[in-house]
Amino acid sequence: MAISWGHRAVARQPLARWPWLFWPLLGTLAVGVPLVAIASSWWGPTPESWSHIFEYLLARYVLNTMGVVMGVGALSILIGLLPAWLVAGYDFPGRSWLQWALVLPLAFPAYILALVYANLLDSAGPVQQAVRWLGGYATAREYWFPQILSLPGVVMILSLALYPYVYLICRPVLGASTRQFCEAAQLLGHGPWSRFWRIELPLAYPAIAAGATLCMLEALADYGSVFYYGVDTFTVGIYRTWFNLGDLDAATRLASLMLLLVFLLLASERWVRRGRAEGGANAALRAPRKSLRGARAWVAFGLCCLPVLLGFALPTVLLALWAVEEVAVMITPEYWAMLLRSLSLAAGVSVIAVALGLLARYAARVDRTRAAGLLNQVMTLGYAIPGAVVSVGILVPLAAFDHWVNDQSEAWLGWSTGLLLTGSLFALGYAYIVRFLAVACQAIDAGLARVPREYEAASNALGEAPGRTLRRVHLPLLRGSLLAALILVAVDILKELPATLILRPFNFDTLATKTFELAGEEQLAAASIYGLTLVVLGLIPILFLTRYLDHDHETTSA
């Protein structure tokens, strides 16, 4: 009997496996369509407003974008690397909670941080009021104060919001994990200074590059803060070209240039990593942390506190203070309706994204051909593509489809279908999936890595086809990872701004767009309430992260 089971499994496998390729193919297609749409913008006729943009605006977009991206790259390394180095290598008071508190700024969408600091530091804000009161000045013109609504202001805001990427990625390759290399260097006659420059830093280069690249990609994608601070970058340009000039083709061309920047960033990260082996990954080389005492310990504590204070604690307190003024007026049925709408949209789309991610990742395990692996890689490219670019890339083919359907319908049936896809939530959901499929896949990969392939073989040998194996073996085992994936994707969707602004149906507001709008209308209290809601929701995935941080020194996990 055992033999007959075996026969059945073997005979069915090639047939049963191959439809699985459909899922990664679908994912790749989803990501590929907007990319192709954007690239093809150069083939058509020159859009009408292009010459105007090219002549008067493009240089500004390029310079500002470069300024923001480079600035954020450098400053986020500056802010994120030092605490990572301290937390990884040394023990000092507060280290155990600082090591996860340093991640908290990730809960802040950058545009909310921008809102907070603009209101804190502009000429009407409390800081300058205090300056005037202390200095006895009557107006803001009588003294010098750094202008927060500027490119350096944006760089500071984005770096404060994004440095945790550098921190998170660099921490595991610094300190204790490089201790043995440092000891080897020490025995070969190198002092602490030389060791830092010749061992610790070079070993961390790939991690620093990876962290900074993530920050720079996010900075490139940012729309809320740059718009709010009046720094015209590509995202602002795309948005303006589409909404103010109504020229989708020109917007698409701008998007294609932005895409070029994305690939440039990814390529330069590759270049930094070239030929380098990952440093410090060897768990056997780990050594205990060094204890800091006295003044040094407090300096370390202070240096680690600063980013948490500026990137999380202070803005949260300020938001709460501003919100409390009108909390009774603002927590209305409208607020709850908005919250419910945003949450259900995020939840619904994240279920689809996670399902697609799971099916595609599982397909790569069932079908171990190179095609499956390659498709799975392409599928997750969306994380690097700015929301504004994705939206424009989706808008082009979907609008064409909508118009075609409408024309056909009018011609044959005599009535208008309206905008079927671009006028509904379909386009927005699609953009979210393209953008955050990678987030889902990452969480799923983490879970799948803990499911040995032998389980599949065992299940197959017991007569279960891949589909039923997924349901009976993997789904129960992956429950935790799938929940994490759902929450991570949902919260990312809640915070997403540029794509939502471009693709939302008319008069459809989410928490993010409402916060942004209210901030633009200088309705500080109302904006604070919505912003604070987003920050609280943003804390949920951080809880997952801290669990990971607590366990990351143990090699095994449950």
Binding site: A184, A185, Q186, L187, L188, G189, H190, R198
Partner: protein, 354 residues
Amino acid sequence: MTMRPPLLEICGLRQFTLVGVDLTVQRGEILGLLGKSGSGKTTLVRCISGVQQPEAGSIRLGGRQLTGPGVCVPPEQRGVGLVFQQFALFPHLTAAQNIAFGLRGGARREKAELVAEQLELFRLADLGGRYPHQLSGGQQQRVALARALAPKPEVLLLDEPFSNLDEAVREELRHELRELFRVRNVTAVIISHAKNDAMATADRIAFLNHGVIEQITGPHDAYLRPRTPFVATYLGPANLLEVEAVEEGVETDFGRVSLSHSYTPGTKGTLVLRPEWIRLTREADGIPGLVQTVEALGASRLACIEVAPGRHLQVDVPAAECLCVGTRIKVQITPPSLHLIDPQTAVRSGHASS
């Protein structure tokens, strides 16, 4: 033993599991440090190299105090080389750059020549440009050795240098190392848990057990005259018999055994009998026993013989000799010398007299 002052001198070293270690190493000597995992070998080496500070004790190298009351020379100023168990080759540097890492000051050309010389010496001449992850385990080990030796340390410490290598590479490297150290007059401390590695490479072996050094002596002497049961069993199978010396032999719990060596009558202790010191005999005065198990080892077989109820002897039987489980045989005990381990760990040894 010798009038020369020792190169490395360790007194009363205490840290974690180490409870007072005394150790001296002569210039040009290869000392093996043998002990089970957890016995404190690595801690000892980390203390000598200075990456760890001991609770108490002193370490002197070439007459210079490295560690002691109020003294702690930082590792980079000690002149101690260390080869790590996992090699710890810098992953971002090539083999040649790794080797050059410890060469400080001096002209660039001079350094390059030194590196080339080291590469040549360790048969790595073509591999200088490779990164560690592009090298095999044995090659990585040789780079690690070359890197540690390049700055010409006064003493070279090797932490389990053979444990990450497979058997064939291991044997080759052991041989190479011994030759190299001898030719270059390198003073080395080789840490190992494997007796073969220590026996094959070391001039003297220090046995570390439960944080103390139980014996320091040459490999051959340690095999013949172990001072403690730990040393006796670590170097190979041994029958340990509680005996009392009598005229012309010893009194055991399975009867009197007559031996060709004598010992002061009345002395009590543990008799160390290697399996190859017992042989099958047809003589009438042989000790009768029952063959219980036979284990093939290749050139010989290891038999377990019950000589009294619950009392077994391990006997080395030549492969050619016929031996079946369940047969009754007689054995004769013929040790090269009579050596008793004193129960109070003090050592007395009786040498062949007749």
